[in-house]
Amino acid sequence: MSLIEGRTGSWEVIIGLEVHAQVVSKAKLFSGAATAFGAEPNTQVSTIDAAFPGMLPVINRVCVEQAVRTGLGLKAEINLVSVFDRKNYFYADLPAGYQISQYTRPVVGKGEIILDMADGSTRTVGITRLHLEQDAGKSLHDQHAEYTYVDLNRAGIALMEIVSEPDLRTAEEAGAYLKKLRSILRYLGTCDGNMEEGSMRCDCNVSVRKPGAPLGTRCEIKNVNSIRYVMQAIEHEARRQIEIIEDGGKIDQETRLFDANKGITRPMRSKEHAHDYRYFPDPDLLPLVLEKGWVDGIRKGLPELPDAKKARFESELGLSAYNAGVLVAEKESADLYERVLAAVAKAAPGQPKGKLAVDVANLVMGDYFAALNASGKPIADFQVTPAMLAELLALQYDNTISGRLAKDVFAAMVETGKSPAALVEERGLKQVTDTGAIDASIDAVLRGNADKVAEYRSGKDKLFGFFVGQVMKATQGKANPALVNERLKQKLAG
């Protein structure tokens, strides 16, 4: 059990997360208006989204399908009958004066997520529910000295609110939960998980207690928009609560905001959350009734999800749990890995499958990830493509280049975006496998270092590396290292 030490002893932190994930869909939840990010303000607004008189919502089937797909991906119960409710409150960016949401009967019930912790352990976190709801518009307070401007492009966009059980105990677990959830959503294609654009936002419920004691009073930290901030906010909030209790105070149940600049949470102004939402079933919408066959069809069409993919990478490809975990964490890297593996298996059919799997993993997780991270680009935009990676490995397998040269070629690929074959050709990096040429180089090196040869022959084995280095240097690294080793050993012995 992870605990935080306070002045009066150890404290347990209880965390539950509510994630708002924007559904990937071309149209909004109840209107046909478009959902693209970054459009000019108020250009993607229908009279339904703007709540004009007499306008009525009609549920978007695609959004329901995405919610069900997500539910299935979270191994959750799908409720064949669910109900849309109105959550009533006044705000300028909420045109109807109510948000259509699901209160008592959500479309998805209990499920679970398996967290992969840094130490290789796993932890299962319960999902309480997932429901569909509309997003509100956006209030822009910084456009005018006296007025707030309202952009309704976002109003009516479909969100999935995914609520976890209070099963998380540390900021690290909360981070792992969000990463895993985001990964699953991306694998499913139901949310792009882009927290910077606001397509995934998180509310954190945090309380503390002495181990074994009843649950403490919780505070909700609203609308945190990055995984790092979520972890910081929880860390700070737990410390804050412990300090208050240890000073003899009491925690007020309240809604707080995370101030990313100061790294602290602060209470929202009371007016910002003093709502009685007056939920009631939306009379404009009939209960949402799903057919079991339709749900089963979605289930059949689910892609392989990270947990299953990880298990397969381990059992079928022989990857270590760690490597498999890293590769499947993001759909894009898992896809890249599999594409490189498929391409290289085709190009080098003679290589054992297990070796290919490990070599590709090493290349992807080593040089490739390092260069990718340095570039700051997403995989899709990175100049080094899966085909290029496969070619690079194939050039090694057919002895065109050595492993050492491969590193140089890779660096050149990153720099120029050219294919490895082209670079090898262009720069004359082709490996020397001509024994005559290698022998000539070895002979020259041995001649020039007669003293070292004598030392070696008198038992100083360690000098072998020196001779290899000299030969490689003499051949500008192009000599096949295996051949160099073999010939050098013979000649030194001779």
Binding site: A51, M55, P57, G97, F280, P283
Partner: protein, 494 residues
């Protein structure tokens, strides 16, 4: 020849076909009639140019032997229907000057069938009222007067402008909406026919919402046949309204066979309420006798939850209204009264924009949905609603239709009942249960009160069995031979 304004739709249709007159003649006669009846305050917006233009197109179509079911028929449109580019206020100051950029589905269907628009007619604010005295644009006068008494009477409500216009021959027919009796009660008060179709029969798209689970559009006409003709055009599935029924629309006119032999007509004993005028009871007995004479069999039935209908209605309707009317906030359309802050703007706008009755219902609705009261009020009311619907369902196992009075009294004077909202709400005692159960109901003028005012009888049917409702209504109309005319109407006194 009968004045063009005194024709029924069926007669006008025949006249146009026989080329006895043109659509233009009809339009011009009605435009003059609208002028002539200004003192009733029935019309809020008059659209004579549009009427003439539409009539011109109708004449062209008729000349080519084409034309829809309502080709050339001049209609008044309740101001609750959004009409593209034409002011739509719902009788409220808060929507003053609002010109919707869209046309309601029902009016679009009417225009597509060739109907001609005379203008928008007055109503109780947001359809909340039974007397048309809550309109921000002044009360509407009933064209009828008590015998020997010239005090202006209410036309009923909320579709009071529609009822007055049709009764005063200032429109061949009108659209109405009925949430708790707002078509049937004014029809009864004004001596015309009004049918509230089954919930889901007519699209609510583009109709300013009062209580979404109860609102339903319907025709107000001077004959049952006209109601059948008009409903045939107004009805039909609309994918833009999730609560619209995906059912075909039968030929309602074909149901008017006059043959009710063998039909069982339920007479609900709970509809004999305390304080109901003896003449209402007499009229009801007369109705029973007519149907019996026509070969139907009256059956005593019990709708034992009837007494809970009004209380349940006055919880559910305000609850929905409090949420539906939240969008009138001064932010995007309609009235805005500036304030120092967003909240102040809301308060100032809504204080100035809504009338007393609307405010009362918003307050009631907000209260019954509030935390701590929801179960005691809203939830209980919904349970009662289900029981009321069950009463009807039970009754319809043995009867084909139900006969009852439309309202417990004839039209009252403007100002009467105005300081006692409960007395006002009692007007709806016979109509509200039908809305709660979502059933079709028609009011047919059946006789005069002792003071010479029209009284209606109501026929209630099974869900989506408007055909039977119209058939029985037609037999009552034939039996009653109601030819009385209001004291004040276009074309002079009767």
């Amino acid at each position: 020849m009968t004045a063009l304004t005194d024709l029924t739709i069926a007669e006008a249709r025949a006249g146009l076909r026989k080329k006895e007159f043109s659509a233009r003649d009809l339009a011009e006669a009605h435009i003059a009639a609208v002028e002539e009846t200004h003192s009733l305050n029935a019309y809020l917006v008059e659209t004579p140019e549009r009427a003439l233009e539409m009539a011109k197109r109708s004449d062209e179509k008729l000349a080519r032997g084409q034309g829809g079911a309502l080709e050339g028929m001049p209609l008044a449109i309740k101001d609750l229907f959004c009409t593209e580019g034409i002011q739509t206020t719902a009788g409220s100051r808060i929507l003053g000057g609002f010109k919707p950029p869209y046309e309601s589905t029902v009016t679009a269907k009417l225009w597509a069938a060739g109907a001609v628009m005379l203008g928008k007619v007055n109503m109780d604010e947001f359809a909340m009222g039974s007397s048309n005295t809550t309109s921000a644009y002044g009360a509407v006068e009933n064209p009828w007067r008590r015998r020997g008494d010239n005090r202006p009477l209410v036309p009923g409500g909320s579709s009071g402008g529609s009822a007055a216009a049709v009764a005063a021959r200032a429109a061949l027919a009108a659209t109405g909406t009925d949430t708790g009796g707002s078509i049937r009660q004014p029809a009864s008060f004004a001596g015309i026919v009004g049918i509230k179709p089954t919930y889901g029969r007519c699209s609510r798209w583009g109709i300013v919402a009062f209580a979404s689970s109860l609102d339903q559009a319907g025709p107000m006409t001077r004959s049952v046949r006209d109601a059948a003709i008009m409903l045939g055009t107004m009805a039909g599935h609309d994918p833009k309204d999730s609560t619209s029924a995906p059912l075909p629309v039968p030929d309602f006119e074909a149901a008017l066979t006059g043959d009710v032999r063998g039909m069982k007509i339920g007479i609900p004993r709970e509809y004999r309420v305390d304080g109901m005028a003896a003449e209402i009871e007499q009229l009801w007995q007369q109705g029973i006798a007519w149907l019996k004479a026509a070969g139907a069999e009256p059956v005593d039935i019990s709708l034992k939850m009837t007494k809970y209908a009004l209380p349940a209605y006055y919880i559910i309707a305000p609850a929905e209204a409090s949420s539906n009317l939240a969008r009138y906030d001064g932010v995007r359309f309609g009235l805005r009264v500036p304030g120092e802050s967003l909240d102040e703007m809301y308060e100032a706008t809504r204080a100035a924009g809504f009338g007393a009755e609307v405010k009362r219902r918003i307050l009631i609705g907000t209260y019954v949905l509030s935390a701590g009261y929801y179960d005691a009020y809203y939830l209980k009311a919904q349970k009662l609603r289900a029981l009321i619907a069950r009463d009807f369902a039970e009754a319809f196992k043995t009867v084909d239709a139900i006969l009852a009075p439309t309202a417990p009294s004839a039209a009252f004077a403007i100002g009467e009942n105005s300081d006692d909202p409960i007395a006002m709400y009692l007007n709806d005692v016979f109509t509200v249960p039908v809305n709660l159960a979502g059933l079709p109901g028609i009011s047919v003028p059946a006789g005069l009160s002792g003071e010479g005012l029209p009284l209606g009888l109501q026929v209630i049917g099974r869900a989506f069995d408007e055909a039977t409702v119209l058939k029985v209504g037609d037999v009552i109309e034939r039996s009653a031979g109601f030819t009385h005319k209001p004291q004040f109407m276009a074309g002079g006194r009767a």
